[in-house]
């Protein structure tokens, strides 16, 4: 096999694959953040904790109820989404009249509580979660070995992302959503129940985070701290992409995952920081973000 730029292709494509996997999670999480921010004007700091709750729900279902991965993929987003709706109804809705910063502070506090509780119960070492039987093994593509589960994660998150894009940008429901983002008062005057829409939107965004958590469970371990650091990277992704566009979030998420993967190949020391460096550069060149509108 011919090395590319002095790098063996197995290593190159292997890291590219990891990059795409991470990119899937960045895309799913930043998509949820963008949808929530659009309607609620709140940056959901609890997003990382809700991603972790998704992974834990999958683990609970397997451990105590005996329901496997496929059920978890359905049940976890609904369960965690309902939990999100509960938070929105009881706490977040009191903050809509206030400065946006209070929403950030409240969700930060909630994230601390959730992560602290899970850490007390399950420590911080991580619990294993097996890859479902149907997706074990992998394909030899000639130039690299592609594990089936990883192919599934990339494919499925692409489908979910594009599905969300279709619903928001191309359906009647999505047009209500976009209208309410622009001017909630006017949309409410047309007889649309905006508060309910806000609640459901939050539940949906949180559900996306939980879905990402279930998909992450077999790759990374199920760990109370799995969302804490990830959410900061996702914030950087959101700053780079700008939250104005759904497609922007998806493209930025996958793109940055790939860039991060490639950095691991060519200059591993910078792989942790490359996304933040890109963020600094984007802020210098185009402060509103790659896909954002100037405020």
């Amino acid at each position: 096999m011919i090395p590319i730029l002095g790098i063996p292709p197995q290593a190159l494509f292997g890291q590219l694959l990891i990059g795409l996997i991470n990119g899937s999670f960045y895309a799913l999480l930043s998509l949820g953040l963008a949808v929530i921010f659009g309607l609620l004007n709140i940056i959901n700091f609890t997003h990382g904790a809700q991603y972790m709750m998704g992974a834990f729900t999958a683990w609970f279902l397997l451990q105590y109820v005996g329901l496997g991965y496929w059920w978890a993929l359905l049940i976890a987003p609904i369960a965690v989404g309902l939990f999100g709706i509960l938070l929105e109804r009881t706490m977040l809705k009191r903050l809509y009249q206030l400065d946006h910063l209070y929403g950030l502070l409240l969700t930060f506090g909630l994230a601390l509580i959730i992560q602290g509780l899970f850490r007390n119960q399950y420590g911080s070492s991580g619990l294993p979660y097996a890859i479902p039987a149907q997706l074990q093994g992998g394909q030899n593509l000639g130039f690299m070995f592609l594990p089936n589960y990883r192919a599934w994660v990339i494919g499925f998150s692409l489908v979910v992302c594009l599905g969300t894009w279709y619903v928001v940008e191309r359906t009647r429901l999505g047009s209500y959503l976009r209208a309410a983002t622009e001017n909630p008062t006017l949309v409410q005057a047309f007889g649309i129940n905006v508060p309910r829409m806000i609640t459901l939107t939050y539940g949906f965004g949180v559900g996306l985070a939980a879905l990402a958590g279930v998909m992450a469970a077999p790759i990374y371990q199920v760990n109370p701290l799995m969302g804490g650091d990830l959410i900061i990277v996702v914030f950087a992704v959101v700053v780079i992409g700008g939250m104005g566009s759904i497609m922007g979030s998806i493209v930025t998420g996958f793109g940055l995952g790939v860039v991060e993967g490639l950095t691991k190949v060519f200059y591993p020391e910078a792989s942790n920081t490359v996304i933040f460096v890109i963020m600094a550069l984007v802020l210098l060149v185009k402060p509103a973000g790659l896909f954002g509108r100037a405020q």
Binding site: R94, L95, L106, F108, G109, I114, I232, A236, V239
Partner: protein, 311 residues
């Protein structure tokens, strides 16, 4: 600012100084020094959130970096404590200039996310850079003799030096808030487009406030490194950025004395809850939630409302 208001703040200041002057004879001085360092940290943070309306979620980067620089020059290069602290302040100010210049290009919620992300970058730098010694941190930092005269290894001497540093920083902030410069900052907080239309270069003012704040955070960080003779990753981690937000919120955003009170309460709480492990995080989170939902003025803010005077 009315004369009566100044009078109340003068009394409050006198009470605070008297308390800290007497306290080391009754309370463990190292605990008090920790509270003083965090009090200055929170006051410097409050300068931004309370008076310019900028929520920096990355202030740990400045605290930790200043700590590392102070510890490094004091231990490896053998600098005396006053020079080591100045080096820490300078490092934090330069870093503040770089991060501030980037972050003020975005407003509101994006500003918070940007500072958080850039601070995370500093964290990874500190994790990997050889001079910080990674997980071990820089240990056994010598306290040295201040100006070659005062032996800082004596706890009470060190305490009063730390108190002097804290009061100096506090007065700088107080003076800043009540200066014409501070009035412009408040104008920008209230209505940025209007301040710009009046001819103030809002971005320059914001950047100056940011650098001033980070330099003072550096003062707190450098002092803290000498007090604990340690500079570690804890001080650069984002949880520390969250902690300073908590202290300021609990004490009262935009109050002069609130951050000191908030820092004191949070440090005391951590001291008592230290055996409980992760419960500390849960309690901190709960305080956040309660403060945001029902107690947005904070302890000092509520007190000020009771006596109808700004504190």
């Amino acid at each position: 600012m009315t004369r009566a208001g100044l009078g109340h703040q003068g009394i409050a200041f006198a009470v605070m100084v008297a308390f800290f002057a007497v306290a080391p004879f009754f309370v463990y001085p190292v605990f008090l020094m920790k509270a003083l360092c965090f009090g200055l940290f929170a006051c410097a943070f409050n300068l931004l959130i309370g008076y310019v309306g900028l929520l920096s979620f990355g202030h740990a980067a400045f605290l930790g970096s200043a700590g590392y620089v102070t510890a490094h020059v004091a231990k490896v290069w053998g600098w005396p404590p006053e020079a080591a602290i100045v080096a820490g302040v300078a490092a934090a100010a330069v870093l503040g200039l770089a991060i501030g210049a980037l972050a003020i290009r975005r407003q509101g919620i994006y500003f918070a996310m940007t500072t958080l992300a850039l601070a995370q970058m500093i964290y990874f730098f500190c994790l990997q850079a050889p001079f910080t010694h990674g997980e071990d941190g820089i240990q056994a930092v010598p306290r040295g003799r201040l100006f070659g005269i005062l032996d800082l290894s004596h706890t009470l001497t060190l305490y009063f030096v730390v108190l002097a540093i804290f009061l100096a920083g506090f007065l700088v902030i107080y003076r800043t808030i009540h200066s014409p410069f501070g009035q412009v900052l408040k104008a920008i907080r209230e209505n940025e487009p209007r301040a710009i239309s009046l001819g103030y270069k809002a971005d320059q003012y914001k950047l100056m406030a940011f650098v001033l704040s980070t330099a003072l955070v550096g003062l707190a960080g450098g002092t803290k490194a000498l007090v604990f003779q340690l500079a570690s990753l804890t001080d650069v981690h984002w949880t520390m950025s969250g902690e300073v937000v908590l202290m300021t919120l609990l004490g009262g955003l935009g109050t002069v004395f609130g951050p000191v009170v908030g820092a004191f309460i949070v440090i005391a709480l951590e001291n008592y809850l230290a055996q409980l492990g992760a419960w500390v995080t849960v309690v901190q989170g709960a305080i956040f939630v309660v403060c945001v939902l029902t107690f947005r003025r904070g302890v000092v803010g509520e007190l000020a409302r009771l006596i109808r005077r700004p504190l």
